[in-house]
């Protein structure tokens, strides 16, 4: 975290963004309390950002405003300095623990603890108490005590803190889940990685994964930040990358690098939404679509071959929507017309039975093979019913009633990482709609109603869960489901079933 003061200035600057105020650097893990999302970041007093849906974020002061004295406690200041960077956040029992970097002149730094019982600044119980320094570096040792990452081991409930930056090692200490302080303050911290920062752990299927950020930060579009990882069978390591190099020796399998118009990803944080839906938070050093500032992002977390993989939020476009259960494609229930028009069975020129099989234009009679134009709704919709039409599934054959345009629904809000979408038959305004019976219909037009707004979350295997924002007269969350080979419906999401898994493929 070789960051400069200019970055702190960016954080308090107005941000012009489609998703509110996502401008921030070194975000903490995103934590949900009572349906609202909270994240803290680097900056004077540790800025707070809050979101009601995980998509649109707003600023809400700083953590230190609720700390007695409005700044780190005296012991933290003595061990480190008066900067406030890169916090992390976890719930433990009925408390929340915030760990934050309080560097002086690096590598002299401390990691301080704040203790609270609610994240909601509007709550009468809202306050943060100084828990003092948890770990620190004296400016000489091979450590720079910044960038805390807190992790609860799901196998036994133990709590762990990783920290460190480029001045030496990434280190690990065990915490007391009740107090948030070190469980064994006299034990030597364990070195688990080097040449990195923004460390944090996650666990899955018997593996502990250590995610760290490599490269340089704080230089806008010239930042080489990238997230890398290793894994171990024990929480204490050794953490090896995909070819066996220890993260203590500079190893690290790439998790996410720059891409698209987003440069310099760093500061991974797990956001587990339950039911098998996992996402991760991070910041990009430079979002070229937002003036090159540093921004928060939330993306799907996938798993492949025993490693986490950065997924992609669905983007607007035209797709076939294929069921992972059946391989059949969602379509409007109208009689399809073959692409290029009806013709006999083709491609068997010379076969004795060709004529009997229908013959005709498709056989290849020696003439030049002309491209068959793609089919769109304008070509074939003359006889489509004007009103609502059922939805069904069929083998995908590139027909117009099988092509869907997914577009951001304006001013409709969203969910962690993404806005709501409208899903329409390509080239029309006919909109996929949830009915009060928990079924599906294609309405003749998009109205913006909640039953026409769709949430599309990428799942661990790369498929997507598709859910209406609301089902009329129902409070139960339902997902698009393949009830049969040819029949879609809405049903309760089951993480262990392919029924509610869908693929969005380019048509």
């Amino acid at each position: 975290m070789r960051r400069a003061v200019v970055l702190a200035l960016l954080i308090v600057s107005p941000v012009l963004a489609l998703d509110g105020q996502p401008g921030m650097h070194d975000p903490s893990t995103v934590v949900m309390q009572d349906g609202r999302f909270y994240v803290y970041a680097t900056g004077n007093g540790l800025p707070i950002a809050i979101s009601d849906d995980g998509w649109t974020w707003r600023r809400k002061g700083t953590l230190m405003q609720a700390v007695p004295g409005g700044k780190p406690g005296p012991d933290v200041l003595a061990r480190g300095g008066n900067n406030t960077w890169a916090p992390d956040l976890i719930r433990s029992g009925d408390k929340y623990f915030v760990y934050y970097s309080a560097p002086g002149t690096q590598p002299k730094s401390a990691i301080g603890l704040l203790i609270g019982t609610t994240l909601d600044p509007e709550s009468p119980d809202y306050k943060w108490e100084d828990g003092g320094p948890v770990v620190w570096s004296d400016g000489v040792e091979d450590s720079n005590a910044i960038d805390p990452g807190v992790f609860r081991d799901p196998t036994n409930g133990s709590l762990w803190l990783t920290y460190g930056s480029y001045f030496g090692y990434i280190r690990l200490v065990e915490l007391d889940p009740k107090s948030g302080k070190r469980l064994y303050p006299n034990r030597k911290a364990i070195d688990i990685a080097i040449n990195s920062e923004a460390s944090i752990m996650i666990f899955r299927d018997g593996w502990y994964y250590l995610l760290v950020t490599h490269g340089s930060c704080c230089a806008g579009a010239n930042s080489s930040y990238n997230i890398r990882m290793g894994r171990a069978r024990k929480v204490t390591g050794p953490f090896l990358d995909n070819i066996g190099i220890d993260l203590l020796q500079g190893g690290g399998k790439l998790f996410l690098g720059s891409g698209g118009r987003s440069i310099g990803p760093g500061h991974f944080g797990l956001l587990d939404l339950g039911e098998g839906v996992q996402k991760f938070s991070l910041h990009f050093e430079a979002d070229l679509d937002r003036g090159g500032i540093s921004v928060l992002d939330i993306r799907p977390l996938l798993w492949r071959d025993g490693w986490p993989e950065a997924g992609s939020n669905l983007t607007a476009g035209t797709y076939q929507i294929e069921s992972a259960r059946t391989g059949t494609a969602l379509e409007m229930a109208v009689q399809g017309i073959p692409v290029g028009g009806p013709r006999g069975r083709g491609g068997r020129a010379g076969a004795g039975g060709a004529a009997a099989r229908g013959g005709g234009a498709g056989r290849g009679d020696g003439g030049p093979a002309e491209p068959v134009p793609s089919q769109d709704a304008a070509q074939v919709s003359e006889n489509w019913p004007a009103g609502a039409v059922d939805v069904r599934m069929s083998p995908y054959m590139l027909q117009a009633q099988q092509k869907w345009t997914v577009a951001t629904a304006p001013n409709a809000g969203g969910y962690p990482g993404s806005p709501y979408f409208k899903i329409t038959i390509a080239g029309t305004d006919r909109a996929l709609t949830a009915t009060r019976e928990g079924e599906l219909v294609i309405a003749p037009a998009f109205t913006g109603a909640a039953e026409q707004l769709w949430r599309v979350d990428q799942l661990a295997d790369g498929t997507y869960r598709v859910m209406p924002k609301a089902v009329p007269e129902s409070k139960e969350p339902l997902a698009l489901s393949a009830a049969g080979f040819s029949t879609p419906t809405l049903a309760r999401f089951r993480a262990d079933s392919d029924r509610q898994r869908w693929r969005f493929r380019a048509p």
Partner: protein, 210 residues
């Protein structure tokens, strides 16, 4: 039934189609309905598109075609030809209509089969689904309401077409279907599923006695 027994005796391949038992029968372990009344095939054009099949099944082929619950041996006249209803039990999940028609020395291609069964439910069951598969196109009704249509040339796949959530009333529920075949094999299967896609238990098939 006598006619059909003769057919069975002459065709070893029909071992999966057996004569009707005397009592009500439960679906098999996976919920498939295994007892049906089937009308001998009606010769048709064999067009399988949505529009063609819908037009065909909405055509009046014989009196009370959407309401009749036939008995084994009942006869109807269609286009001047007399056709009989047969009770068929299958030992499998599906009913092989090709074997049924072939055994009767009836055409198997470009044909329409009308099929009926009666499901006895011990109580009202809300939110269940009729799940069917057919070779080829088929349209299905439950207690007179059209609930599923699947079209085009296709093979029988378990739970291919699934109805929207419906209610089985306490007592008798009439399941009716029209299966259209253009050529080759032809068969169908059907079962009821609960809200969790599990086969419905507790129902029986209770076709009228002779």
């Amino acid at each position: 039934m006598t006619v059909y027994r003769t057919i069975l005796a002459s065709l070893a391949i029909l071992s999966v189609l057996v004569c009707r038992a005397a009592t009500a029968t439960a679906p098999d372990a996976e919920g498939f309905l295994q007892r049906w009344m089937i009308l001998e095939p009606i010769g048709v054009a064999g067009q399988l598109t949505d529009g063609a099949v819908q037009a065909l099944v909405k055509t009046a082929h014989f009196p009370d075609q959407f309401t009749v619950v036939p008995r084994d041996g009942d006869r109807v006249t269609v286009g001047g030809a007399e056709l009989a209803w047969h009770t068929v039990d299958t030992a499998r999940y599906n009913v092989n209509l090709y074997h049924f028609a072939y055994g009767l020395k009836k055409p198997t291609s470009n044909v329409l089969f009308w099929i009926v069964t009666v499901v006895e439910s011990p109580r009202e069951m809300i939110g269940v689904r009729l799940a069917i598969g057919s070779n080829a196109a088929s349209v299905w009704w439950v207690n007179g309401a059209e609930v599923i249509g699947i079209y085009n040339d296709r093979q029988t796949v378990i739970d291919d077409g699934v109805s929207k959530r419906l209610t089985l009333k306490k007592g008798q529920n009439v399941i009716r279907a029209a299966v259209v075949n253009a050529g080759g094999a032809t068969d169908f299967c059907a079962r009821f599923l609960d809200a969790d896609d599990r086969p419905i238990r507790g129902i029986t098939v209770a076709l009228p006695q002779l």
